[in-house]
């Protein structure tokens, strides 16, 4: 199994097939950690939530920054899906709550 990138608990997978359906524009999109240390895609992207997965279209090369902790992740133009790693919890497995 090959994964494009991990940044902290965030899994970033590159999609070979483009994202189908409507997308909304967003600037400096916070993808996780909005209540602690935010992971932020710098610049303008197109995005949509699909369940617990964030679908993102990056049209210009950019980075994902993490406030004050993890190093930047390089994000070339392309389509991606982003979701949290999982952990074992009292009521079964769930996405890491950042």
């Amino acid at each position: 199994m090959k994964i494009f990138a991990l940044q902290g608990d965030q899994i970033i997978r590159k999609l070979d097939r483009g994202i189908a359906g409507n997308l909304e524009s967003a600037t400096n999109l916070v993808i996780a950690g909005s209540h602690s240390s935010p992971h932020t895609i710098r610049g303008n992207v197109l995005m949509r939530m699909d369940g617990d997965v964030l679908l993102v279209r990056v049209e210009l090369d950019t980075t994902i920054e993490h406030a004050g902790r993890h190093q930047n992740t390089v994000l070339p133009a392309g389509d991606y899906e982003i979701f949290s790693q999982r952990e074992r919890g009292g009521n079964g497995d769930h996405a890491v709550e950042d």
Binding site: M1, K2, I3, R86
Partner: protein, 445 residues
């Protein structure tokens, strides 16, 4: 048209960035008269009459309570005792006194006469505190009718947007897009990252949590975001650090925002309306680590005089208990914490203490991409993966403990289990991860 920045202009960007970060970190008491005067000038610059009433509160929580008291109209005599039981006397008294004092010249003569007559009648006998409170409450009840409908109509559309449009037009006409982008990147965005992301967003989250937690039936504290973040405004919506830099780079006819630059230097968060402005103080304490993140290992990292506190560990807002009593957590309580809180607790109390508290023993070790992974089994059968982090921004490489499935047998399988998910959303089982633990990461940060 300004198309390129030279040496002194580049120095200006640095000094403006540092100045607005310093403004955003200020813990000086607000200068209320100066803030009020600046806000009044801001209204006049936009061609509007300034608010008639200015309320001065000790912090954002008291400001929100004050706003809700006025908006609800629940400061009449009938409920004042109940309200008193549920919100602090301090804030209630502040609101009542300030509103009363400021509207005394504005409410109708009839109301004043009525109140005066009642006071005269009643003080001729025995003046009890209760009577005074009732009279005051009646004044406020009538006054609040005048102002309570106004606190939902914020001025942003007609004051803020107007001056921003005016200033933006001047900048667009006089500064190239390239220089504008440079100022955004080197001033505004850095102020935003430091002041907004590290301080004001944390305060906002704390206040939101307090609103969610409050259970008052009489005065529901409604969350309404400030429309002027005062000392934190350098990197917020108004982007004051950007526009002040543009002004000082020589953009002409840019004085429309001067009052707001001044106001930001004098006060904290504000809720400004057409006839009333609620002005709150700056934090009384703000402690940062060497990377500019809110942090204190022995107390609140940020505090307001209204009692609002933010407890934080290297930028992560955590429960007070994680800071003051980290070793009081049971294994069950530890497991129920969000991941960032577990990590903060582990760093604060020490991972060896956490492992002892969980009654753990090692099961399996592996190395992948130069990082060590250790599967650990606890006395209750639960398992954790201890993972070495990639090198962080500060050069450290801490280890974390993450709960994993009890059916896993190897560290490599546990590493795979945390990330292995098919394109249709199905997560792999522990058995699948053990049979194929291979995992290739393009980037790991």
């Amino acid at each position: 048209m300004l198309t390129k920045l030279g040496g002194r202009q580049l120095e200006l960007l640095t000094s403006k960035r540092d100045e607005w970060i310093k403004i955003g970190s200020s813990t000086e008491r607000m200068n209320f008269p100066a803030a009020r005067a600046a806000i009044e000038r801001g209204y006049r610059n936009a061609g509007k009459n300034p608010p008639k009433i200015f309320l001065r509160l000790d912090g954002p929580w008291h400001a929100l309570i004050a706003r809700s008291l006025i908006a609800s109209g629940k400061i009449g005599a009938q409920v004042i005792a109940q309200v008193r039981a549920q919100v602090s006397d301090q804030v209630l008294d502040q609101v009542l006194t300030q509103v009363r004092d400021q509207v005394s010249g504005q409410v109708s003569g009839q109301v004043i006469a009525q109140v005066r007559d009642q006071v005269r009648d009643q003080v001729s006998g025995q003046v009890s505190g209760q009577v005074i409170a009732q009279v005051r409450a009646q004044v406020i009840a009538q006054v609040s009718d005048q102002v309570r409908d106004q606190v939902s109509a914020q001025v942003s559309g007609q004051v803020r947007d107007q001056v921003l449009d005016q200033m933006s037009a001047q900048v667009d006409a006089q500064v190239s897009a390239q220089v504008s982008a440079q100022v955004i990147a080197q001033v505004r965005d850095q102020v935003r990252d430091q002041v907004r992301a590290q301080v004001s967003d944390q305060v906002l989250d704390q206040v939101i949590a307090q609103v969610d937690d409050q259970v008052s039936a009489q005065v529901d504290v409604e969350l309404q975001y400030p429309n002027f973040y005062g000392s934190h405004e350098g990197g917020w919506w108004w982007g004051l650090s950007y526009y002040e830099t543009m002004r000082d780079l020589g953009v002409t006819d840019a004085s429309c925002m001067d009052p707001w630059f001044d106001a930001a230097r004098e006060c904290g968060w504000c809720w400004i309306y057409w006839d009333i402005a609620i002005v709150s103080d700056r934090p009384s304490m703000c402690l940062l680590d060497d990377r500019g993140r809110l942090h204190c290992s022995g107390g609140p990292a940020l505090e307001y005089l209204d009692g609002t506190q933010v407890w934080a560990w290297h930028g992560v807002r955590v429960p007070k208990r994680v800071i003051l009593e980290p070793k009081s957590y049971s294994s069950e309580e530890y497991r129920s914490l969000p991941a960032e809180h577990r990590r903060s607790l582990g760093e604060h109390a020490g991972w060896s203490w956490v492992l002892d508290m969980l009654g753990s023993s090692p099961v399996s070790v592996s190395i992948a991409d130069g990082l060590s992974y250790e599967l650990i089994r606890c006395s209750d059968g639960s398992q954790y993966l201890r993972m070495q982090s990639p090198i962080l921004q500060d050069g450290s490489q801490p280890s974390y403990l993450e709960p994993v499935h009890e059916g896993l047998k190897t560290a490599a399988g546990a590493r795979k289990w945390r990330v292995a998910r098919d394109s249709d959303g199905r997560w792999w089982t522990p058995e699948e991860c053990e049979s194929d633990p291979s995992l290739s990461l393009g980037q790991h940060t």
